[in-house]
Symmetry: C2
């Protein structure tokens, strides 16, 4: 890699969901040009309205950029974006950097780095935490990993949408940290659902209950963020779907199996998400996990 990025650099961004849109806003605000790609036409319209450049195909994006940020949902979508029909591999220039922000299996990520390296593409494994709120505000924490050279090349882009950028060593380490992060996120989210559903069952005033629980030792980021949505009971406005947590907690369960680690809380939380999906709510907002406890 011969040069450093500057803020006129064009950055490719794939996946204009809640997280990707937040990253776009911060990249644009910091002077980057953003070429975006998404399967939904309305997402591309949104991007154009923000001042970004919609790309109608990955090939059209690949012709313009040598650094790509990917905010798709999972490893299957990442695989499709890279190696699927019309995918980036073979179209991105040699020396390009691919920043994968999805929550994925660490083993898959480690193998992916080697596969991309064979095509002269560097992988930055860079899952994030801070939620849609953090993405919008540019306050995400980035659990980055990858080669030092690729990481330094990508750093200005990472810093544009993350307030704290960690470099955790070889690619896959970021994914490993993110799985641990999701263990707590999933447990806290399901626990918020459990507590607020119990409060409802007991006839407690829910707004006051949430205020009290959030104010002291019972507080969590998830309770504060998802609690109001749980109380409102409207799960159609989807920030992140129940199915995402079924997937993320599955990665947690895989990690605990590999480590021979009896994580009882993680398993209980997984069952709460799975039960919510089983009742047909998998595509609803993940705050719908509270309905798993509303059995009457």
């Amino acid at each position: 890699m011969d040069t450093h990025l500057n803020t006129r650099t064009k950055v490719g961004l794939i996946g204009l969901g809640a997280m990707g849109c937040g990253a776009v806003g911060n990249l644009l605000a910091k002077g980057f040009e953003v070429v975006g790609c998404d399967v939904r036409p309305d997402a591309l319209d949104w991007l154009q309205a923000q001042g970004g450049t919609p790309a109608s195909s990955l090939a059209e994006m690949a012709a313009q950029v040598r650094i790509v940020v990917c905010f798709v949902v999972n490893s299957a979508q990442t695989e499709a974006v890279l190696f699927g029909e019309g995918g980036l591999v073979g179209q991105l220039p040699a020396g390009a950097v691919f920043i994968a922000c999805s929550t994925m299996d660490p083993g898959y990520v480690r193998a992916l780095e080697a596969r991309l390296s064979a095509h002269a593409i560097s992988l930055i494994d860079a899952p994030v935490t801070g939620g849609a709120v953090g993405a919008a505000r540019g306050t995400l924490t980035i659990m980055g990993s990858g080669t030092p050279e690729a990481f330094e090349f990508a750093r200005p882009v990472l810093q544009a949408f993350g307030a704290t950028v960690h470099c955790l060593g070889a690619a896959g380490n970021g994914a490993q940290m993110k799985v641990l992060n999701q263990l707590l996120c999933g447990v806290h989210l399901a626990a918020a659902g459990e507590a607020l559903a119990l409060a409802k069952r007991q006839g407690l005033p829910l707004d006051l209950t949430l205020e009290i629980l959030s104010s002291g030792a019972a507080g969590s980021w998830m309770l504060a963020d998802r609690g109001p949505r749980m109380i409102a009971g409207q799960f159609d406005n989807v920030t992140s779907a129940v199915d995402i947590f079924v997937k993320d907690m599955s990665l947690v369960l895989d990690a605990t199996r590999e480590s021979r680690f009896p994580a009882a809380l993680a398993h209980a939380a997984y069952l709460a998400f799975l039960g919510t999906t089983a009742r047909g709510l998998g595509a609803q907002d993940d705050s719908a996990v509270t309905t798993n406890y509303e059995l009457t």
Copy 2:
């Protein structure tokens, strides 16, 4: 009750543990006189050094005060303080107010109010949240309940050691809210132990892991407060013991049974505390719950 309290009022305080000592500090700082009682002589020495007045018996306290704050561990100790040999009942003046800050079964609390009322003593059911840190800083949230008259009488005292004082209606409602609060505290604490023990098993750098997990959507009050103690692995410096959470989560389990509410996470957390106690660590700091997952 004929008068309001003023800040020269003598306040009785029973139970000079981490929570009680924090309350003493704030009461003294706000100009109240504090008459304190504890079974440990060194706690009374501490009180004297702070400018408070040690009482060598409950009778000695009862002769000086008509409002008492009680920070003992549980309902058994509360029962002993009130109705045991040499207890307050029969010694406190008519019209006295007893502020019970312990985490107790709501049913016990509701019955207690009636029993005290027969002795012309008003009960304020006032469990707190915010931990030892909150007690020391005067930032506790108080889940108060009791009759409006008794509550207004007690309010200046409550406001001296709580930043936010809620009045939730009849005595027992505070206890009910506290049980719900402990559901989340216990789950979050056990989850912090689960996540950090898994990080240790996987060989991740623990200080950095805690920093990252605390910074985003995985954050909780418990993780931030107990995480450093878990990493240090020193559980002899006891702020709150494992056995306290065995007791508190038992109250949670009772509540979920009464409500016919399948709280899977609460039960998993309970088992983590019970397992820690079963390995002989019940009197250690509750951050020792992480050792429940360190099986090698």
